[in-house]
Amino acid sequence: MSNLLIYPIIIPLLMAMVLVFFRDRIKLQQWLTVLSLLATIGVSLFTVYYVSTEQILVLELGGWSAPFGIVLVGDMLAVVLVAVASFVTLMCLLYGFQSIDTGHKKHFVYPMILVLLTGVNGSFLTGDIFNLFVFFEVMLISSYVLIALGGRKIQLRESMKYVIINIIASTLFVIATAYLYAATGTLNLAHLSERIALAGQDGLLTAISFLYLTVFGLKSGLLLFFWLPGSYSAPPPPIAALFAALLTKVGVYTIIRTFTLLFYHKPEITHTVMLWMAALTMILGALGAVSHWEIKKILSYNVIISVGFILFGVAVGTEQSLSGSFYYLIHDMLSKALIFITGGAIINIFGTDKLKEFSGLILFRPLLGWLFFIGMLALAGVPPLSGFIGKVMILQGAIAAGELAVSIIGLITSLMVLYSILKIFIHSFWGETLMSEGQEYSTGKHALLPGTILVVCIVAMGLGAEWVNTYVTQATEVMVNPNLYIEAVLKQ
């Protein structure tokens, strides 16, 4: 039964390798990609069901028992994120099938996206911190390719920055892991958690935890986000949507994992720093989002704001705010995909992303307009959409814990999110229609199907909050009580 956990990792990987053999048969590649993603989603949904009714799944790879071998651990947090990540990938691809150009398709864009998903799913599932590094690299290497593929001037410039910043982050990651291994003598997350709890989190371990915070902050865009807006606006829209929905979220997940499982003993130091990093991230991200006039830049800054908001909940660290963070994380993956897909369609239609150069789209793309509008409301946190519940839970937890100042920052930045995306909406959909049917660069119709499906999910997540909450609660239990995780892995 525990072998269930390996499927979300190997199905995309195997299919990616098969696709290499069908380089010129693009239609076949697309069908195979969709099939493999459907299979991945199916398996991961079954895993969610299994974990919710039975127990935390642990797979000891090669039969080597923990803490000596490498384990995959499927607790609720991990398996739900795997399911959502696979689903979001499928949505981005449904959009991408039409809007990615043939040059990309012939240069292995689909295998690369599948390998990216392999890395993302692996990072969520692994129970070993060095293995986490490996899966991070799998994910990053395919994202390097996806950013650089196409070779336009802006892509080369941004991929250079992206590669350098990530190599630095990865080096720090290895250094931090080496220190951690030297200090504790193990790399298994559960075993680490147990040993850190036994030895007490002294100055050395706290310093290591800050090293990890820097690494994961670089990857997720927590305060150290200077590379993000440029890199995310370089690749074509479907790939940007995939990045926005998945990559930073893996960084966020690792922060949640390490700071609830390993370094939770000195919250007055680590979590306070994280709290103010999150607050600064929200403020700076919001300023960026408000000040720019290009769709891609505005949306990229919105990615940063939501990272700040999720980690604000993590930094507060009470049960309520953690479950809010998890809820908001799922919501954010779905709604970032939605807003990037519909925003990408606007760029496709006008052939530019400068807000001041277009208007009046509502007349001949009404559905697209409404999808974008709902995505905007969801991001801003308007009830009954999914963003609202996540925000309420985080803010309730924060106010109960007495973090009033940062809560106010969170609320103000929510308004700024609304303003920044409203700006896109007004400029692109309202006003005089400048072009007539047939003049557009692309129909933009391929965004409608994935857009509609995502909107349905977002509305369902908002209306069915009670149902989603059963899973969220189960995930939060493990975050609040690391012993559940340790017992599952080490079988004490």
Binding site: N3, I6, I10, M17, V18, F21, L61, G62
Partner: protein, 141 residues
């Protein structure tokens, strides 16, 4: 300009066989001794690079018509599929097993599934390394 260096070409013809043999020895020494698919693959790749330096791209492509990208993909497939074998048998992913068998010429030989995994790694390393090297050299005109 046709590149001809008689010394290099003559030496290469002999050296390539020695290097290849050694790489296969290292590959098989793998899982119990120092060595394995990764190092074996790198050594093979170095033999191929030597061929490319001594002769030229077209000649080697004719003698050794392999699409390195597909070779790399086959390697990954082989490696992962050995893991999938353990899924079919209902044991944890990547479990391995071995057996001693009497083979003609080789005598009592250890056959392991880890060997097949290593073979996949070997193909993947050769494929990847050669893809990188040939695509860099193709650009350089």
């Amino acid at each position: 300009m046709k590149f001809t260096d008689v010394y290099l070409q003559t030496a290469t013809k002999i050296l390539v066989f020695i290097i290849m043999t050694f790489s296969i020895y290292v590959l098989f020494a793998g899982h119990n001794n120092p060595g394995g698919g990764f190092i074996g693959g790198l050594i093979t790749a170095s033999a191929l690079v030597l061929l490319y330096i001594a002769f030229d791209l077209q000649t080697v492509q004719e003698v050794f018509p392999v699409d390195y990208k597909k070779l790399a993909a086959t390697g990954v497939l082989v490696s992962v599929l050995t893991g999938v074998g353990s899924l079919v048998l209902g044991v944890p992913f990547l479990s391995q097993t071995f057996k001693y068998v009497e083979l003609p010429f080789l005598g009592n030989t250890e056959l392991t599934t880890a060997m097949i995994f290593d073979l996949g790694v070997y193909m993947c390393v050769v494929g990847t390394t050669m893809t990188i090297i040939t695509s860099i050299s193709e650009d350089d005109i």
